[in-house]
């Protein structure tokens, strides 16, 4: 779903996970403070600049956004029709662009719809920046710092570790079934769904067997031998992290101050 971590030495890669997490929240909050699409567009632009400079593959982001497209259009339509003129302070936004029967489509509603879409954009982009630049171990460290039990963190890493394994298994099973005449995912709805059963059952049976072996292997590797485990590299806040965190706090303060002057509304 999200773009996976890719090791590199970019300036964002070198930041502490906490700085990045705070940045993610700050940007998200700012985008929610302002209703105006212009300011949100500005934020999209700024985050895109970061995305560009750390060389994130754009194709991956396209893959995330593409299935959301119908939802975006639906959002624009719904907000346009359902937001009555009285919701908007500026006169221009109260204007009705056209009406469908008795339902007026307001400019303000349309712009608000754009803002909603842009907010999703912003969240996709910022979360991509975080996942692309942060190894899973750092995220686990963060979980540990906020006192989430170590076993829980272990479940997450093991889960991630087994994604490619399960994908490969599922491919192998599909091949085996096709080779004996199964037409997987073809035919009518019921036929195509039931054809997946031939893949699912071996996959589940195999997973159960793997889970058993995994439990044995965990014991063989001393899992749970001690109350604590050794962390290999601790996450560390450096000067640049403190500086950036400080800037992030200032930014959010400025955003609230501007908003209080009634700028950036609709």
């Amino acid at each position: 779903m999200l773009i996976e971590y890719y090791p590199s030495e970019s300036y964002v890669h070198r930041l502490d996970i906490r700085t990045k997490a705070l940045g993610f929240f700050v940007i998200t909050i700012i985008s929610f403070v302002f209703l105006s699409p212009i300011i949100n567009l500005l934020i999209v632009f700024c985050t895109c600049v970061i995305l560009f400079t750390i060389r994130t593959p754009f194709s991956g982001i396209k893959k995330i956004l593409k299935p959301l497209l119908p939802i975006f259009i639906l959002m624009l339509l719904i907000t346009g029709f359902t937001y009555p003129a009285s919701n908007f302070t500026s006169e221009a936004n109260q204007r009705t662009l056209f009406s469908l029967g008795t339902f007026p489509f307001t400019l303000g509603g349309f712009l608000y719809g754009i803002t909603l879409v842009l907010r999703i954009f912003i969240m996709v982009i910022t979360s991509t920046i975080v996942t692309y630049t942060t190894p899973i171990e750092d995220i686990l460290q963060l979980l540990k710092k906020i006192k989430i039990p170590h076993q829980f963190a272990f479940i997450i890493t093991t889960g991630i570790r087994f994604i490619p394994t399960m994908q490969k298994k599922s491919e192998m099973i599909q091949e085996a079934q096709k080779a004996r005449g199964a037409e997987i995912g073809k035919g009518g709805l019921i036929k195509s769904v039931s054809s997946y059963i031939t893949v699912l059952i071996p996959l589940i049976v195999d997973s159960l067997r793997m889970a058993d072996n995994l439990a044995i292997a965990m014991l063989n590797r001393g899992f749970g031998a001690m109350k604590t485990t050794t962390d290999l590299n601790e996450i560390k806040m450096r000067t640049r992290d403190y500086l950036i965190c400080f800037t992030e706090v200032i930014l959010i303060a400025i955003a609230f101050w501007i908003r209080s002057k009634n700028i950036g509304g609709l």
């Binding site: 090791p7 570790r161 099973i173 091949e175 199964a182 071996p202 072996n213 965990m218 014991l219 063989n220």
Partner: protein, 594 residues
């Protein structure tokens, strides 16, 4: 009962063990002892109890796999009943069979560190043991690699490194080589012997690798049916052809000749050869000048007059443009041929086979089955003509009974109920599962599930069969039974393609051997020719059967034939002896002077 035990030693004194829901005892009196610093091999047929015996050693039995347990297992001076498995794991490293489910880290380095960090080793200590164990298994420089992208052999070595990093005094490995090609297999045993030589660990390893056990193990323990049936030096075991065969263990290639000579009174008792070099010495000393006729070279097969079953034209395939997996292959396979595809892992054998039933499609070129271009046919449509049997039967079994499982493919073929039932019963009878028709497939043993998978394909009556490593992970009995079935199908006129790492099988059963290397065909000839191309085979990392090397060495004595199985060589030697001329010694031959 407990003499003073040394650290690094193992002692099993088990009266009996039975799994919780099982009806029968897995073990009934099992006693064995392993001294510190020994390298012991655990052998026996599949299902003899090797894996279960290994799980006794660190307390997985009875703590994790519960049951009725009577007796004592003392590992590294610790009684397994009194310690947690995790505590035992610090001293007894257990590497299970499937490396995939023993890798926890996303990167190699993290995975190796998993054990030591569970044991709360210090950070500096962990760094040290990680690099030390990666070096020990030959994976230095792999620290940052993603574990899921490693090859099978690398994963196996990583699994060993992960256990070594906990600095165990005893290392126990369950069939570490079952999924590897001969090169990878040799590497694992070499690695173990280096560890042993350093004197740091006691090693217990199970497997079916006759030659390697003979070369590296100090002692062999043979299990059968949950009992220890034999223990002693590997050379003694492998000399006793009756004993090995009884326990489903493949005897070394050359031991057959020695046994045959002995039976005919040509050789002293206890001078059976088990080692290639020993036999070679004997043969050179005693057969100095061959007079027997040359029967080999004309045996090369005259190109078949049969129609072409499979043809590829300029077949190329790649995932990424830069590295092609298959490179312009032009191969013609005639109807009724039994062809072996050999080459090391990653050479392109499986990728090539998958082109033949449309599981993969050529990037360039075309594939013809019985003269028809298959590019417009789906794999499902091709399944009636090309049967493909995969390595792991569990990837296809999903029905509730054996009968239904076989019926699944047939339901797509417009057959009447009776036609289907005839085909199902014929197929099940062929593989020997006719008694299990109504059983649930997962209550069958692994070997039987493999037969079931075989039956599901046979029932569709394809004329061409592709079999991917049919004997991997099987014991000698299983291998022989599988090959008998293939041989029978071959004689019935099926065209068979077999991917294999087992050169003895390729030599004994097939008409033709195709050697793959880097997506290209290096050799494509009958075994009598292929196995004598030593230079090319070496480049493709393939070791020919021992009899080929021996025949090569006997050339100077005037030997002119090209045997590919030990029986052919044996017959030539017997024929030469029958002439009773130019043989140095008076019969029977004595033991070799060493």
């Amino acid at each position: 009962m407990f003499e003073t035990l040394e650290r690094g030693s193992l002692q099993v004194d088990l009266l009996r063990f039975k799994y919780k829901n099982s009806l029968t005892d897995i073990f009934n009196t099992l006693n064995f002892k392993i001294e510190k610093g020994e390298f012991v091999g655990l052998m026996g047929r599949t299902g003899a109890g090797k894996t279960t015996a290994m799980m006794l050693l660190n307390g997985l039995i009875p703590h994790f796999l519960e049951g009725e347990f009577e007796g004592n297992v003392i590992a590294n001076t610790m009684n397994t009943q009194r310690y947690h498995i995790q505590t035992m794991a610090r001293f007894i490293g257990l590497v299970m069979q499937d490396p995939e489910t023993q890798i926890f880290g996303i990167t190699v380095e993290r995975d190796v560190a998993f054990g030591p960090s569970n044991l709360a080793f210090g950070k500096e200590k962990i760094k040290e043991v990680v690099s030390k164990s990666l070096k020990a298994v030959g994976l230095e420089g792999y620290e940052k690699r993603i574990t899921s992208e490693l090859s099978g052999g690398e994963k196996q070595r990583l699994a060993i490194a992960g256990v070594l990093a906990m600095e165990p005094e005893i290392l126990v490995l369950d069939e570490p080589t079952s999924e590897l090609d001969p090169v990878g297999r040799e590497e694992i045993y070499k690695l173990l012997s280096v560890l042993k030589k350093k004197g740091e660990v006691t090693i217990l390893v199970s497997g079916h690798d006759t030659e390697e056990m003979l070369e590296y193990a100090d002692r062999i323990i043979v299990l059968d049916n949950g009992r220890k049936v034999w223990e002693g030096r590997p050379s003694t075991l492998f000399k006793d052809i009756v004993l090995t065969k009884k326990n489903g263990i493949r005897p070394p290639e050359v031991s057959e000749i020695g046994n045959c000579f002995q039976k005919q009174g040509l050789l002293d008792q206890d001078s059976v050869f088990i080692n290639k070099n020993e036999f070679l010495q004997f043969a050179k000393n005693n057969f100095t000048s061959f007079k027997i006729s040359n029967n080999g070279s004309e045996k090369y097969y005259s190109t078949n007059n049969n129609p072409v079953a499979i043809e590829t034209k300029d077949l190329s395939f790649y995932y990424q443009q830069k590295n092609s997996v298959l490179n312009e292959l032009n191969i013609k396979i005639y109807k009724g041929e039994f062809v072996a595809l050999i080459g090391k892992n990653g050479a392109g054998k499986t990728t090539f086979s998958k082109q033949l039933n449309g599981l993969l499609r050529p990037t360039n070129g075309a594939v013809f089955i019985n003269g028809n271009d298959i590019s417009q046919l789906t794999t499902a449509q091709l399944s009636k003509e090309v049967g493909y049997i995969f390595q792991n039967p569990d990837h296809q079994i999903f029905s509730a009974t054996v009968y239904d499982e076989v019926e699944y493919g047939l339901k797509r073929m417009n057959l009447t109920e009776t036609e289907r039932s005839v085909r199902i019963n014929t197929a099940l009878e062929f593989v020997g599962l006719e008694k299990f028709t109504n059983r649930h497939p997962f209550t069958l043993g692994k070997g039987e599930r493999q037969k079931l998978a075989f039956a599901t394909v046979l029932a569709m009556e394809p004329k061409i069969l592709i079999i991917d490593e049919p004997t991997t992970g099987q014991d000698w009995d299983g291998t022989n039974k599988m090959m008998e079935m293939l041989d029978k199908l071959h004689r019935q006129g099926h065209t068979i393609l077999m991917i294999t790492h087992n050169m003895l099988l390729a030599a004994e059963y097939t008409d033709r051997v195709i050697v793959f290397s880097n997506g290209k065909v290096m050799l494509d000839d009958p075994p009598e020719k292929v196995f004598y191309e030593s230079e090319i085979l070496k480049a493709a990392s393939i070791t020919a059967p021992d009899c080929v090397t021996i025949a090569g060495e006997l050339r100077s004595a005037g030997y002119k034939n090209y045997p590919v199985t030990i029986n052919e060589l044996q017959n030539d030697l017997l024929e030469q002896l029958a002439r009773k001329e130019n043989v140095n010694r008076v019969l029977p031959f004595g033991k070799l002077r060493s």
